[in-house]
Amino acid sequence: MSKKETTAPVVHKKPLGLRLHEYRGFYLMFLPVFIFVLIIYYWPMLGVRYSFYSYKLRDIHFIGLGNFVKLFGEKEFWSSFKNTLVISIVKLLLNTFVAVLIAIFLNEMRSLLAKKFVQTVIYLPHFMSYAVVAAIFTLFLSTSSTGFVNETLKSMGIIKESIDFLHSKTLWRPIFYLINLWKETGWGTVIFFATLSGINTELYEAGDIDGATRLQKIRYITLPALSNTIIVVLILNLAKVLNIFEPVFVLYNSRVLEVSDVISTYIYRKTFLTAIPDYGYTTAVGLFKSLVGCILMIGSDIASKKIRGRGII
């Protein structure tokens, strides 16, 4: 092996200056992009230094790790950190699982027309904004006489008293997951459906010849073919679990804060709902979130390399 390496042809690189001159046209073309990236992506990052400052109106002074000491002592912060992980991970697993189920179901449908119809119907919610979705479900699940779900259940004699779905600490998360399933699962099936379309049909024909039932074909052909994609989807999304904000923000309320407050909504409240906020503190929370996000990203990259042979970064 080592002998082979020593006998490999040695590539003599041209001097850097010569290479720069030779490709000067490309470097020149790249220069504006490089400047753009520096200004738009990296220059604002200098703002992270304020996580070491107390930053209130004109009173800005260096306090070292003071913000982080305060942060780690905040019960509310740790509650939001825990909620972020739980809500994001359960949402990710549920959405992926149901998306796989629907993709398989669609794959098994014989009627092309019905398949296209179902696909269109389940993709549509993805294109609605979360604000609209929240308004619709808040109205649907309201305990007021305008609440469709409660009024229907009451008129059918199933319940006597209205259920406060969105204000109950025990029901908020399940309802949140259901709303997310309704909105995003259809779109989530796209990637799985594409994978299913690529499965060699000869495998199914071989299954037929061997007398496999439909369920057995799903179990022994479809699912193994999908497994790599499922893992990739999970890994890619794992790196983003701390970024959850909008779906929670539009659906949470003061009574369920204990089970719904996530890091981003915590930062939002501390920044935008405080009369004179300390931007230094909220920058520190944001920086901590970014660091944990980086760790998750690196972990996902390592996992990706192990499972599919190439990383995601």
């Binding site: 046209g25 490309f26 020149l28 073309m29 220069l31 504006p32 992009v33 400047i35 753009f36 200004i39 930053y55 209130k56 109106l57 004109r58 509310e76 808040t138 309201s142 305990t143 007021s144 006489s145 305008t146 209205s162 406060d164 204000h167 309320n253 003061s254 009574r255 804060l257 409240r269 501390k270 935008f272 709902l273 405080t274 009369a275 004179i276 906020p277 300390d278 931007y279």
Partner: protein, 555 residues
């Protein structure tokens, strides 16, 4: 070769674009670009304000889509004539719902002279208390004392009461505060066989809500109506906190306030708050309060109240007095809301019930919102005085400029020329207007030709120095509303402000709202709510009360 030339050209264009972008931003920072405030020192040494940047909230109703450009043009012309030199007015109108947050960010990240940094802006009384000791605001007491409008003031105490113990005044209130009164649908009252003059106590009020909930006031033959709706059971983030449900809160004040003996207390921990929560809880349990109240904003609450679907609506709604009586009535008309007997629905105002009269004395008149001037901190008052003269002194000139702030732009929002127009033509609510030449009148709203323009920023009835040109928008309903409120109101407690409160306010508001909602819907008892508040926020609350009392003692 061609490709190289092309690459060089493209690269140059992109780089030039980027640099041009940078150039324009640095120019703006330097304060010389359009939009940056500024002035010049004239030959005689006086400061000439040439550009004025102001930040306003939704109370300036001449918005961008409702004739703001004409308002600005007429203001610039009138004020330039008064000052003897040209002046440009830049208005930044912020989203009303996040006003204080956006102001905070603007004042934190900018400085006088920056593009977008305000020379003057509107603040609520609470915001004023929060900012007046930060050094960002200018002490305008001397300018106020020497203002041209002093001789015409009819309500001098509105501003004098805002002064600190050392005589400093950081805000200028052109009007008094106004407050909320309770409106009841007349048609619903008739349908349940009640009269407004018979509702004198909380028990009467409660019985009314019960009748509105159970006695089919909309006459559709089925349930679904509610007694009352509001924007929250109590609005913990908006002083005076209790004014959207005053009959339930009665004498309680669930926030920091100063007692008659001068000591500050945390009203949220008092027995009166527990009693109020118990009343709200009972009414919620009895189904008299629309459950949407918990999450409703003011817009959602009022839209449900005057909705064209009255089968899920409410009979009682407490909201702002005066102009809002007209607005709510107009919306009932526009939505063609009818009484069970088929007549157009109307509103009647409920005088304060006995329990309110016995405690506060009447509906609460909130502390007036104010205008403030930002201090550039250069040690000279020249710029700030020039802003005062150009903006505040002219705002109450009794004539052209005050009319602009009161009614809007001439021939856009109001006119004295002869004209005729019809609102809602071809409908049941069609109404024709006809005016002779020289007769002052309001025109159709620029952004809604089917409604009559009502006012701009200043309320002619609430203003501290009235117009002297005789321009009066003769609207019986608005006059009736303002008169009713004036006869039935008392001043609300002053807003509290100290360092710890500023820092912990978001957490306090959040916890109080959470516990209040839990108590009202019955998840916990009112006593448990207050105990949990004491457990979680007790020490912070004590610190705030100590600081407030120390401040009072120092004054």
């Amino acid at each position: 070769m061609k490709r190289k030339v092309l690459s060089i050209i493209l690269s140059s264009v992109m780089a030039a674009g980027l640099l041009a972008g940078c150039g324009s931003s640095s120019s703006a920072d330097g304060g010389s670009a359009a939009g940056a405030s500024g002035g010049t020192v004239a030959e005689d040494g006086t400061y000439e304000l040439t550009t004025l940047n102001i930040i306003v909230d939704g109370t300036v109703t001449a918005t961008v889509d409702a004739g703001q450009a004409e308002f600005v043009a007429q203001w610039e012309k009138a004020v330039s004539e008064k000052l003897g030199h040209d002046i440009k007015l830049n208005i930044t109108q912020l989203d009303h719902s996040d006003y204080s947050g956006t102001v905070s960010r603007t004042l934190t990240t900018g400085k006088p002279g920056d593009s977008g940094y305000p020379d003057a802006l509107i603040m609520s009384a609470t915001m004023l208390r929060q900012y007046q000791n930060t050094g960002l605001l200018w002490d305008l007491s001397k300018a106020y004392d020497n203002a041209e409008f002093q001789s015409r003031l009819t309500l001098p105490n509105v501003n004098l009461n805002m002064r600190t113990s050392d005589g400093k005044q950081y805000g200028f209130a052109p009007t008094y505060g106004n407050g909320c009164v309770t409106y009841i649908k007349q048609g619903w009252l008739d349908a349940v066989g009640k009269k407004v003059e018979d509702i004198k106590t909380f028990d009467d009020y409660y019985a009314l809500l019960k009748a509105f909930t159970e006695n089919d006031p909309d006459g559709n033959g089925s349930a679904g109506t509610y007694g009352v709706i509001a924007a929250g059971f109590g609005k913990q983030d908006e002083a005076p906190y209790i004014n959207y449900m005053p009959e339930f809160w009665q004498g309680a004040y669930p926030s920091f306030y100063q007692k008659e003996d001068g000591t500050w207390v945390d009203g949220f921990t008092e027995q009166a708050t527990i009693d109020a929560l118990a009343r709200l809880n009972q009414a919620y349990k009895d189904g008299l309060i629309d459950p949407d109240t918990e999450e409703a904003g003011t817009k959602q609450a009022r839209e449900k109240f005057f909705s064209n679907d009255q089968t899920t609506s409410e009979g009682v709604f407490t909201y702002w007095a005066g102009t809002w009586l007209r607005t709510l009535t107009d919306n009932l008309t526009k939505n063609e809301v009818k009484t069970p007997s088929g007549d157009p629905e109307s509103l009647v105002q409920l005088p304060p019930i006995k329990e309110i009269k016995d405690t506060w004395g009447g509906y609460l008149n909130r502390e007036a919102p104010v205008w403030v001037i930002t201090d550039d901190g250069d040690g000279s008052d020249a710029r700030e005085q020039a802003i005062f003269d150009a903006l505040f002194d002219t705002m109450l000139d009794g004539d052209v400029v005050q009319t602009l702030w009161t009614y809007g732009a001439e021939d856009v929002h109001w006119s004295t020329k002869a004209e005729e127009f019809v609102l809602n033509p071809g409908t049941d609510t069609e109404k024709a207007y006809s005016y002779a030449d020289g007769e002052f009148h309001l025109k159709q709203s620029p952004n809604d030709p089917n409604s009559l323009w009502k006012k701009n920023h200043l309320d002619a009835v609430l203003v501290i120095a009235p117009l002297t040109n005789g321009y009066v928008a003769d609207d019986e309903l608005i006059t009736e509303g303002n008169t009713f409120f004036t006869e039935n109101c008392v001043d609300a407690p002053a807003a509290a402000s100290c360092d710890t409160l500023s820092e912990a306010e978001a957490d306090i508001v959040n916890l109080r709202t959470q516990l209040m909602n839990q108590a009202v819907v019955g998840e916990i008892t009112p006593e448990e709510a207050i105990q949990q508040y004491k457990d979680q926020m007790g020490s912070t609350s004590d610190t705030i009360v100590e600081e407030l009392n120390a401040q009072s003692a120092a004054e």
